[in-house]
């Protein structure tokens, strides 16, 4: 700990001596162990050690960013010159005011798990085998491709205003894809999850989900084009919200009028049952931190409260430009911070408030509609239009889940999606850093090949 903080402090002094008006320095040191399964057998085990330093230097409001691998101070000095020369070559930016000042620190529990950090390669391989065995526990499963990754690291962040932060973090990531065959029918399904602690229950859940959905999808049907109610699984709505809110509420996009949420602060953009917060203080969540990528203490904020847009996501630059409070949403990338990642605005953990409905109640109540489990499409953030493939989806018929849908797509504007939420589930799952229950919307345009 002391070593990397001292290196960060020494580097800040060096950059300021070069003539920078402000600077911040991140020194990071992390280790990852990953075990990968291919076709239900161990394929590769990896151990990756990653150490480095990044420097952000300012001159006339312009920032220059440079990084290097290693912690050698002679190399760091070269990187400092690079960062300063980058800042000197850019255009002056009068909108830059200052970097954050030191503030009272916030203690966030659940960032580092000693058990996770003490795992050996054999332990990770065994977990991957266990995941594969769970996902392939049916003779119709013909292949499982999966991975288990554990990581631990420490990061020291120091800036020229006196911020001096240190965080130790761990990460546990699991993913599995199961392929099922029966006769001429073939279907595949995936699941994944992440946390900051060793959670063996997560391995079972991911493996079971991948297997069960691969089997569920073997019976297939085609859909005709029309407007139908849609129930979104946490996996699909989590992925959509990550872009729609995580990207759409980015204050930099708002200020440049590139987002469909620009000019809508205070307006109702969703149904009264929809509340979404950004909360970096949730214990063991992958997006949690005690201070953000610029050293601002973590804090929870409501982004959408009962359907009304309450806040955007800010860092020091954009908050100063709008003369509002910094929400502490500067990111250094990923669960374990990386020296390669320039500070940029990002959500931490998005939390969708739970409602009252069990999933089976939502299906029964829907009667006729679609259950969308996964999609990997991105909304057009300029227009808010979303159209994409329903990668894994099921027909809801007579209040029950039916066959999987072949080659079908969904199209809806995000404001319509938020406004048409009429049922909120009660069982949340962390999907892609978004803790959300299933949501149902009253209708969306779905197109199929039927």
């Amino acid at each position: 700990m002391a070593d990397i903080i001292q290196l960060a402090e020494r580097t800040v002094k060096h950059v300021m001596k070069l003539g920078a008006s402000h600077c911040d320095v991140l020194v990071a040191d992390s280790t990852h162990i990953v075990a990968e399964i291919e076709k239900s057998s161990i394929k590769q085990a990896s151990e990756i050690s990653d150490i480095g330093v990044c420097i952000r230097a300012f001159r006339n409001g312009c920032s220059g960013f440079a990084y290097s691998t290693g912690h050698d101070f002679d190399v760091v000095k070269r990187v400092a010159r690079l960062a300063f020369s980058q800042a000197s070559a850019g255009t002056p930016d009068p909108d830059f005011r200052d970097l954050p000042e030191p503030r009272r620190t916030v203690r966030v529990s659940g960032l580092f798990d000693k058990k996770l950090a003490s795992l050996e390669p054999d332990d990770v391989v065994e977990m991957a085998i266990s995941l594969s065995d769970t996902a392939s526990a049916d003779k119709r499963i013909t292949s499982v491709n999966a991975g288990v990754g554990v990581g631990w690291g420490e990061a020291a962040l120091v800036n020229s205003n006196g911020i001096r932060g240190f965080q130790k973090m761990t990460a546990f990531e699991i993913s599995a894809e199961a392929v099922a065959r029966s006769g001429r029918s073939m279907f595949s399904a995936m699941d994944g999850g992440s946390t900051r602690r060793l959670d063996l229950g997560l391995i079972d859940r991911i493996g079971e989900n991948a297997k069960n959905h691969a089997l569920m999808g073997l019976k297939q049907a085609r859909l005709s084009t029309g407007d139908l109610p849609v129930i979104f699984d946490p996996l699909s709505i989590g992925f959509i919200l990550l872009g729609a809110i995580g990207g759409g509420a980015n204050a930099d996009s708002i200020q440049r009028k590139r987002s469909y949420l620009a000019g809508r602060l205070g307006q109702t953009i969703g149904s009264p049952g929809l509340t979404i917060t950004d909360d970096p203080t949730v214990a063991w969540s992958s997006g949690s931190y005690s201070f953000d990528g610029e050293g601002v203490p973590a804090k929870k904020k409501v982004l959408m409260g009962n359907g009304k847009l309450r806040s955007y996501l800010y860092d020091s630059y954009t908050s100063a430009k709008d003369s509002v409070e910094n929400t502490g949403n500067s990111s250094r990338g990923g669960a374990l911070w990386s020296f390669r990642h320039q500070p940029s605005i990002s959500c931490s953990n998005l939390i969708v408030n739970e409602g009252d409905f069990r999933f089976d109640e939502m299906v029964r109540e829907t009667g006729e509609g679609v259950f969308l489990r996964t999609t990997f499409d991105h909304p057009n953030l300029a227009t808010g239009d979303f159209s994409g493939l329903m990668m894994e989806s099921y027909l809801i018929h007579k209040g029950e889940l039916g066959p999987s849908l072949k080659q079908s797509t969904i199209g809806i504007n995000l404001i319509d999606l938020f406004s048409r939420v009429d049922m909120v589930g009660k069982d949340s799952v962390d999907a892609f850093g978004v803790m959300t229950p299933p949501l149902r919307i009253s209708k969306a345009r779905v197109a199929g090949s039927g």
Partner: protein, 464 residues
């Protein structure tokens, strides 16, 4: 560094590795982003590191260090062997890596003007000029984003078959995005150029035009309507044809997907998988493209892959492992994003070959349909054979004539259906914009292309 590489490989072999290889890299790069008249980010990267693999009885161990001393490389080799042993104890599939021809070469990819020899201020002025070209193009332009990237890499590749190669690689890329606003409607356009080569590309007219192209597209889309949903006969432009070649067939032709039991093309070599007019290639040897390389990241000489000939599946893209397991040799398709990621099978320049129709003749064939133009992104699930890609803009076609413009059109299909529904292929082949392909958490520089093609029964996703 070559000495250090060979000593490290020897060490891994002495520790028990049946096969070992490494990539030792030095990277230096620049990234400049200008937004709305001001530099937004200016960054420089300096990376050094080594990724080493050890293979033992069906399992790989991979270890990475970014401290390039003899001691740390020995330690990384030990970690790689330790990881391989951990995997071998539980692997269910046993195989060996078939020896490949050793390569001893030093090569510098063609580059007339090294990016590092160009002053930073000149690069900044270039990006500012792109930004200006966007903003002055029309008063309806509301925001502009211009970017320049360069990277210089020295990569040493060594393996226990005796390969020792050093590649000097440079590439440059410029990309612009423009936002236009009118009567409350905001639309975005984008364009890019890039290749393996030096800064000379940035001095060409085509690079200077990137900002204008992005702005023109954003302005065009202002009067577009949300896309219709349903099944249509579609004409794909060259960019969309390239995206389809990449997503719909390229990924399914990666042999690691076959061995993972996750490709619908398993057991189909020699069989008809597309209309007989279809020829599909992946060719890393096309110089001055963004997907170019002469030696893959496992030290195997790159070559053109003929994946589909006259509608018949001819083979897959292989690395050392898949070549060994499937009884053929590697055909030089292994690539890694950097030293800290293991080489996996990747595409390079992927395209559908030209047909014999004139472009206008294609339009004459369509009474009611859509022209899909410009590619945003796409993805595929090779196990189900399902793919999706999104175009920049679409136009209604009525009796061969273009009509209403649409935005946010997505196209989905099933691999084994779509290329059987090809009705006609034009003769206007081009290799299109550079891009990045993501797979297994890694990105690779790629280019796609093809001619205009006409396909029936395409499922289009939209809002109306």
């Amino acid at each position: 560094m070559e000495d250090l590489a060979e000593v490290t490989i020897d060490h891994a072999r002495k520790l028990g590795a049946e096969f070992a290889d490494l990539r030792l890299e030095h990277e230096a790069g620049t990234n400049i982003v200008v937004m709305d008249g001001k530099t937004k980010t200016m960054s420089a990267q300096t990376e050094s590191g080594c990724g080493i693999r050890a293979f033992l009885g069906g399992a790989w161990g991979f270890a990475v260090t970014n401290t390039l001393t003899r001691a740390s490389l020995r330690s990384a080799a030990e970690a790689a062997v330790r990881m391989a042993k951990a995997g071998r104890s539980r692997t269910k599939i046993n195989f060996g890596i078939l020896p490949s021809k050793s390569v001893r070469v030093r090569e510098t990819y063609r580059c007339r003007e090294r990016p590092s020899s160009v002053r930073l201020e000149e690069k900044v002025e270039f990006v500012l000029s792109l930004d200006r070209s966007i903003r002055i193009s029309d008063p309806r332009i509301s925001s502009a984003n211009s970017r320049y990237d360069d990277l210089e890499v020295t990569r040493t590749i060594a393996n226990s078959f005796g390969t020792l190669a050093r590649i000097e690689e440079r590439w440059t890329l410029a990309a612009c995005s423009a936002w236009a606003k009118s009567e409350g409607v905001v639309q975005k356009g984008h364009a890019s150029v890039g290749n393996v080569g030096g800064y000379e590309l940035m001095r060409r007219d085509e690079s200077a035009a990137v900002g204008d192209q992005a702005a023109a597209q954003a302005l065009r889309l202002l009067d577009s309507k949300p896309a219709p949903a349903g099944k249509f006969t579609c004409i794909l432009d060259q960019k969309m044809t390239g995206l389809m070649a990449h997503e719909a067939f390229g990924h399914a032709c990666e042999a690691d997907a076959i061995l993972a039991g996750a490709s619908v093309l398993e057991n189909r070599v020699g069989k008809r998988v597309a209309d007989e007019s279809i020829n599909l290639y992946d060719d890393p040897t096309m110089k001055s493209t963004f997907g170019y390389f002469s030696l893959d990241w496992e030290g195997v000489k790159a070559r053109r892959h003929s994946l589909i000939e006259n509608g018949v599946l001819k083979g897959f893209m292989h690395n050392l492992e898949t070549g060994s397991r499937m009884g053929t040799a590697s055909n030089g398709s292994a690539r890694a994003q950097s030293y800290n990621t293991p080489p996996i099978i990747r595409m390079s320049n992927t395209f559908i070959g030209p047909g014999t129709w004139k472009k206008d003749e294609l339009f004459d064939e369509v009474r009611k349909g859509l022209l899909l133009q410009g590619s945003q992104y796409g993805y595929v699930e090779p196990a189900k054979g399902q793919f999706m890609f999104k175009c920049d803009e679409a136009y209604e076609i009525r009796n061969g004539e273009l009509g209403q413009r649409h935005r946010d059109v997505s196209l989905s299909g099933v691999i084994l259906d779509v290329l059987n529904n090809v009705k006609a292929i034009a003769d206007d082949f081009v290799l299109t914009d550079p891009g990045y392909c993501g797979k297994g958490g890694q990105i690779a520089r790629t280019t796609d292309g093809g001619p205009h093609i006409c396909i029936t029964d395409v499922v289009v996703g939209g809002l109306s």
